[in-house]
Symmetry: D5
Subunit: 95 residues, 10 copies
């Protein structure tokens, strides 16, 4: 099941530098791991913003929440979730 997720990140300026570095490193590791597992299908940077637009392919909305909630930078994100479905004009629907 596909979900479109936009994440806008705002890390507080007074976050401890070590914690900041750790969270950013584990966030990246987690993102790579989820991409390799096929759950986090796409991630793009929005030009001119500390934001990404992502596509997730998960078993359920519950699984998506589990993933998002446990991202190391989640406490500093505004997250917008949009459910997607196959478009009737997509190649996949017209094979």
């Amino acid at each position: 099941m596909l979900f479109h997720v936009r994440m806008d990140v705002a890390i507080p300026r007074d976050l401890d530098p070590t914690e900041r570095a750790e969270r950013m490193a584990t966030e990246k590791a987690r993102a790579l791991e989820l991409q390799r597992s096929g759950k986090w299908v796409h991630i793009w940077r929005v030009v001119g913003a500390y934001s990404n637009v992502s596509i997730f392919d998960v078993e359920s909305a519950d699984e998506l929440h589990e993933i998002l909630w446990n991202l190391p930078l989640f406490p500093f994100m505004t997250v917008a979730v949009t459910a997607l479905t196959e478009h009737p004009s997509a190649l996949s629907a017209n094979a």
Copy 2:
């Protein structure tokens, strides 16, 4: 170059049925053609809306405008364009 495009469609109720059918058919044909050519990389339907979220891979912003402006349903769309770039946590950036 990647762009994220959301299109919200609102076809007027009083549009001539033949014109409507023609526009919808050519819109679909055009979407399939652009997908086959690799310009229109992804198209998903937004659940519960006459809307799509799409990813375009074009030579330039000019080319994207040319494509969007000439879609048969363009006169009935609200279009939001967001420029994208590679995310530092994407697999492609960490190969």
Copy 3:
């Protein structure tokens, strides 16, 4: 899988009265049928508005889209979909 859906209805004043009556009757029949099948779990009227707040329990986002898209009044609705998951303070999570 649970989704929260708000539907705001605005039937055009110039809709043919017969079509209007038919759409409203089939909408109601469809809503009852979907409730009986367990897909449309709750439907409440928003006080002072031609709107409802509903909870759907479906197999997938695709199924939800299929249901919403085919509602007889869908062309006259603004629909907002929010994915839900179990709350850690819900009774069901603390049995």
Copy 4:
């Protein structure tokens, strides 16, 4: 009487950890107690957010305010209240 309530929670980062833990624990205990009493009929987590959508069944708007105002996390919530009534297409209205 039914009310739809959305609560968006934003606990300040500098809240004393003990106070934070206590408030969260008593919030959860209070939510369970109110669910058992039948006042807090439903509580769902919004996917990708520190938010819930809830349905309350109370004697009056006064009672609802009393409940919300005294939630341990109330000072850190944005709360949106919507009055509900039976929908004419609900099963309960067509028994």
Copy 5:
């Protein structure tokens, strides 16, 4: 139970003049009747707008919906409902 209601009225220009006159007359009659019965406690005109701010004192949210939904001008109104409760600084709470 008290509710604060704002009604913004926009009667379509092409409404049949007789229907318009009838709806406005019955709307006024209904408003007076509800005021006399004590349900519609206050009604004020917003300066510079075809709008009112009203206070209703009803048995329940259901009763409020019944009243609003059946107002002759309801189809041409945007209605915003806010539940109220006694303020701890009101005279009534400090008698």
Copy 6:
């Protein structure tokens, strides 16, 4: 002259507790005094919010500003003022 005023209160967490208590006590005393004088005609609590909806009956907009500006909690309020006039469907206009 009648004005509709909504006040949303957000007292900073780090306000000195004594100052906080004093401001709240004098705010309440001032609200009661103004109600007794007939200036502050109504005050209601908005359900689920640290907000009130009030009606003031003052000599002039200047007097209203004087009252609001000098409320002890004014520095922590967002205030929305709406001028009111008699509604043609009010009982008072149809005596």
Copy 7:
């Protein structure tokens, strides 16, 4: 008593040309008359818009409503009213 009023005008394209011309002429005559009487103290055109920003000096909010409601173009206006008072840094307050 001073009020700041912004009026955004949108005359429907299908308004009968004679009615349109009449309304515009009487609107202008009324505006001039109210300026001469000292009620409509200032009127400025907003650059790039069919809008004005005006200052009214009236006996009461009731009088302002009477004036606005009876403007010939009122049915085609969106009107925003803001109550004003003397600024402590105005020359008049520091004579």
Copy 8:
């Protein structure tokens, strides 16, 4: 004096085709003439929209209003005007 202007165009579908063609042709002629005269310094198309972003260099705000108000498509435009001034980091300010 420089002004930034965004124009969003929405030509009504039922506009007489001859009038439409004439307005579009004279709009273009006028835009070219104003560019040649140095008043309309820049005009760019917004990608994916029937909109432009423009820079005007005029004697005064009055002159800008005169230009905009008399554009053939002005009645079908939403116009947003922003006054500009030299930026302290511009080359021109650091020659």
Copy 9:
């Protein structure tokens, strides 16, 4: 040239009291000076807000920016600038 300016002021609570007093005093002195020079034509307080609505009569947009940017409270203001021109229904345009 006339500009309409709204300034909403929010002085931080933790601003040093001496700096605060100085800024407020010089702000007032500057406002009076600019009014006497005829640049700052009008200044009104918005009822119920730490805000003013002002009219400036300046040589150019550059001069307006210079004035606003150098106001002692500018760092704590949100400023909205609207260019004005003579209204065709103003007395001045119909002398």
Copy 10:
């Protein structure tokens, strides 16, 4: 390729004065350098705001992101990017 960028700057009051001065100086140097290289084609100050409106001419959206992301004041900016293309009424399109 042209992009329209609006940057709204909000430097935190508690930023170390030396860091502040350094960031502002390097920001200016970087802006001048990018203007000289032809990447940052225009930069204008918005009247009454700590904001600029800029036009960039870059090889790609990626290059634009690289430029914006590395501006010394980027962490304190809200940035809005709009892709532009040649307007059919521009002189360049009608040579």
